[in-house]
Amino acid sequence: MKKFIFIIIFFILSSNVFSANEELKNKIYKNIRCIVCQGQSIYESNSDFAIDLKKLISKKLDNGENEKQIYEFLISRYGEWIVFNPGLNLNSLALWLLPLLIFMIGGFLIFRLNNKEKK
């Protein structure tokens, strides 16, 4: 009886672990660009390269590597372009700053208009 309960608990726990792993795996797949495709992630692609990468990432996750390590590995070999999210670094600074600058200019102009004296 004890053995039976143990097996049930094991399956329940492992199914949770697997589904959590599944989510993480898909999350990473969606974040890695398929370099030989046009704009797709390896999640969305069935090209050889995408499949190879998916196998490799799956293996690395099973070996206990975390998300950050996997991205670092891929970036060290393929460059920043392979990961879809622009982190906050020197290259992507303009990406974040430019629109904010434009918003602030707009806001400033409106503020001035609001505080003008009526003619």
Binding site: D48, D52, S76, R77, Y78, G79
Partner: protein
């Protein structure tokens, strides 16, 4: 500000945008990741294609002054096109060429070499393509130039005259 100046500034901005996008249009579209240049070749050990008892060990490459690592497959058509260049590099320039047979059937690979010639001193079987990924390759053919195990040049796609000249340049 006088209108004249505004228009001049507008004109200059437009010209700058034009030049910028012209550069974009003329730039190379294939992604050329150069992350691995300057780095030491990653470690791997693979079985040799032609000799079951021999292993292709990445450490061997560290010992060589100058070598080329060429990723190829029998099913890859551009590989057939670049093959004569490889044969020339081996025969005429005595360059040590190591092959990485990528996701191929050994029988087909051997037949390919029988038909077109074997420029390789050693050939590692990368059945799953895992070593290629370690090298930062994403297709076939790709060619790496190594100096004492360090990657100093990478050519993506089939070799051509320019690439071969560059390689010979680097050998000096």
């Amino acid at each position: 500000m006088k209108n004249k100046y505004k228009i001049i500034i507008l004109g200059i901005t437009i010209v700058i945008i034009f030049i910028l996008f012209l550069r974009v249009l003329n730039s190379n579209k294939t992604y050329q990741p150069n992350q691995m240049i300057g780095k030491k070749i990653p470690e791997f050990i693979l079985e040799d294609l032609l000799n079951k008892n021999t292993k292709l060990d990445s450490n061997i490459l560290s010992g060589k002054d100058f070598a080329i690592l060429n990723i190829w497959a029998s099913w890859c058509i551009p590989c057939r096109i670049e093959h004569p260049f490889l044969m020339d590099l081996k025969d005429k320039n005595q360059i040590n060429i190591i092959g990485l047979n990528y996701k191929d059937e050994s029988v087909n690979a051997k037949n390919f070499l029988k038909k077109y010639g074997n420029p390789y001193s050693l050939i590692g079987i990368d059945k799953k393509g895992e070593v290629a990924i370690q090298l930062g390759a994403y297709g076939v053919p790709e060619t790496y130039v190594l100096k004492r195990g360090k990657i100093i040049f990478k050519h993506i796609g089939p070799l051509n005259e320019d690439a071969v000249n560059k390689i010979l340049e680097l050998k000096k």
